[in-house]
Amino acid sequence: MTELALNRSPWWQRLISEVTKSPMSTILNVVALGMLLLIAIPLVKWALIDAVWTGDSGDSCPAGSGACWAFIGSKLRLILFGRFPYDEQWRALAGTVILVALVVISLNPVFWRKWLLPVWIAGLLSYGILMWGGVFGLSYVESSLWGGLPLTILLTVFGVAFGLVISVPIALGRQSKLPVFRLSAIVFVEAVRGVPLISVLFMASVLLPLIIPDGFTPDGLGRVLIGLVLFLAAYMAEVLRGGLQAIPKGQYEACRSLGVAYWPMILKVILPQAFEMVLPAMVNLFIGALKGTSLVVIVAMMDLLGAAQAALADPKWIGFYVETYVFAGIVYALMCGSISWYGRQTERSLREMREHSNKN
């Protein structure tokens, strides 16, 4: 009853009643608030009050002033788009918006309809045209020039998408009664999970050209993507295996007694339920993938983090690394935050759909 009353009162009343629950908690809160202010006041002063917002070289931000957001302002296009040709950057922006929109749509169960496949094909086609160009009067842009946020998003989206596709046979193989498939799946998953991502990326960018005949070798972006996909697939297969194990045996038996063949059973009965069960873990892997793409910097690609570092190299602006890393960090945190928020929304709408269909 009291909780209900508390929930109806305005937030500051709730806060006050929360803070003054007991004398001990009041003291704790006051001390903590004091310490918070001790940190927060200089931080706000640096980030907002003393900050320099405009200027075109390092001289506009003297030593004593706060954050130099003018630097971020003048380097924004470089940080966000990397080396993508300046006049064509709208293409990278438009393509990335299309890609993100496709992902956002596909993650929502409301849109899981037959027309999603043609929408994906059309979306990917226009994405490719926008990024590569070379047709419709758009100039050709090499994939080695792609960079910044579009590259980060590209690696994340395609890494996760292909990783999911590959993880399915691996997870099924690990569950299989056939020893060859089970053993290969176990070896692959455990080997990949035992080594760091950076070594997989090294392997992809150094070893692939060695073992693939000349002329068939994918470009730098393709190689990194292959490494990322293999790495993510191992983790996703492990997560998916958890989902497969949680599916009651009755589901398999019901299929068999209805005469459903293996692949229709897996694709239409087992996998949808398994994916639904492991959705939160998959969302975490999605976030991990986004953070993991930053490692491509080490194999000399210019994603968001790489472009931010490139911006630091300008001799006209020396020493604004805090602003740069804070900005890049905020962009990453916002992206990760929105993925996990959207994941929770999807979970909830899935649950509501389930309850709704159970009532009917």
Partner: protein, 391 residues
């Protein structure tokens, strides 16, 4: 599928034919053939590619002389030693940063987890904010930030920051006082050992007999008394080597490189956020009745936490946190980006010098696989022990 007995009645030829036409046999056979073809093909292409470029293969290069220096090392190493030794240095550096990172990240995780469960809304929100922010920023970005900060944000050697006497923060590293063992070191250590043995005897006797006296005062005295007497008789066991500013740099004391500090800070702060979530889940997993029972028995809230909640929470915490420790160890490979000489960094320089990419990358993978295996073995044993206490 027919029962086995049905097969025994038919002739062998038919049995073989039936076996060969079974779908599971065919699919597995096809898979093996494809895999062999793939491996054979890539070895074929790789050997022809290698023959074109340098032709050097095999691990013989490990015994050649490396021409690079490594910034820091636990064992004496300098340019001119073998590549093998350089790799050993890399492994030791990885282990060093991983071990310290595991301790520090657990500590941070514990504090943040307790903070999230504290009575104060402000502290709770603050710790929640820490977890949410730190978890969502790539570790590499954090490492690069800390490294740049330690190199550019700290003063030069001449204007070294000294929060406490004997600790100097500079852009070339941390300079700390270091202990130097004296001639009496061995004697005092032996005396300390005697003290510990005596105190353990006392503890054992106290437990056996349930003697009605408090253990701690006498136990502590017994532990340290021999060592104190030995120090008094033989002189101080260690002296402190204080770093001195001479010319352009500090001499004496010990130096901690900015790379190591950045690695340790970045890894611990990042993994600490994950550990905080794991520990919090573990503590929340202990049922409320346990806490209430402890409190109603008259235990202090701190005692309830130490003696009732944490031991039970450990059972929930150990499996996921072992995973987190493994991740930390693997993520220490990011040292390559800031120049901390761990395995990947050493392999990377070696690769550049010898261009034996295949060998260097397999060494990295092999070492990490072994580390992963050992860690999971140790943690499995620990896990088994902590869950065996269940009744």
């Amino acid at each position: 599928m027919k029962p086995v007995s049905a097969y025994q009645d038919v002739p062998g030829r038919v049995r073989l034919a039936r076996f060969l036409t079974r779908r599971d046999f065919q699919s597995q056979g096809l898979f093996i053939i494809l895999a062999i073809l793939l491996i054979w093909g890539s070895i074929h292409v790789a050997s022809s590619n290698l023959a074109e470029s340098s032709g050097k293969t095999g691990f013989a290069f490990l015994w050649q002389k490396a021409s690079f220096e490594l910034g820091e090392s636990l064992i004496p190493y300098s340019a001119g030693d073998t590549y093998f030794k350089a790799f050993v240095v890399g492994v030791l550096n990885t282990l060093k940063v991983a071990a310290l990172g595991i301790v520090l990240s657990t500590f941070i995780g514990l504090i943040i987890a307790l903070g999230q469960l504290s009575k104060s809304v402000v502290i709770t929100r603050l710790c929640r904010g820490y977890v949410e922010v730190v978890r969502n920023i790539p570790l590499l970005l954090q490492l690069l930030f800390w490294h740049t900060f330690l190199l550019r944000g700290l003063p030069t050697v001449r204007q070294a920051l000294s929060p406490v006497d004997g600790i100097y923060l500079t852009n070339r590293g941390l300079y700390l006082v270091s202990p130097v063992p004296e001639s009496s070191f061995g004697i005092v250590m032996a005396a300390l050992l005697v003290g510990i043995i005596l105190a353990s005897g006392l503890w054992y006797w106290h437990r056996k007999t349930n003697a009605g006296f408090r253990l701690w005062p006498l136990g502590l005295t017994l532990t340290f008394l021999p060592a104190i007497i030995a120090t008094y008789v033989a002189g101080a066991p260690i002296t402190w080597d204080v770093p001195q500013l001479t010319g352009f740099n500090f001499t004496g004391g010990m130096t901690i490189s900015p790379e190591f500090t950045a690695m340790l800070l970045g890894l611990s702060i990042y993994t600490g956020a994950f550990n905080a979530e794991i520990i919090r889940a573990g503590i929340l997993g202990v049922s409320k009745g346990q806490v209430e029972a402890g409190l109603s028995l008259g235990l202090h809230p701190g005692q309830v936490m130490r003696k009732i909640v944490l031991p039970q929470a450990l059972r929930i915490i150990i499996p996921p946190i072992s995973n987190s420790y493994l991740n930390l160890t693997k993520e220490s490979s990011l040292g390559v980006a800031i120049g901390y000489p761990e395995i990947v960094r050493v392999a990377n320089i070696t690769l550049a010098e010898t261009s034996q990419s295949l060998e260097c990358i397999s060494i990295i993978m092999l070492i990490y696989l072994i580390l992963s295996l050992i860690t999971s073995l140790i943690l499995n044993v620990m896990n088994a022990r902590s869950s065996r206490e269940e009744r």
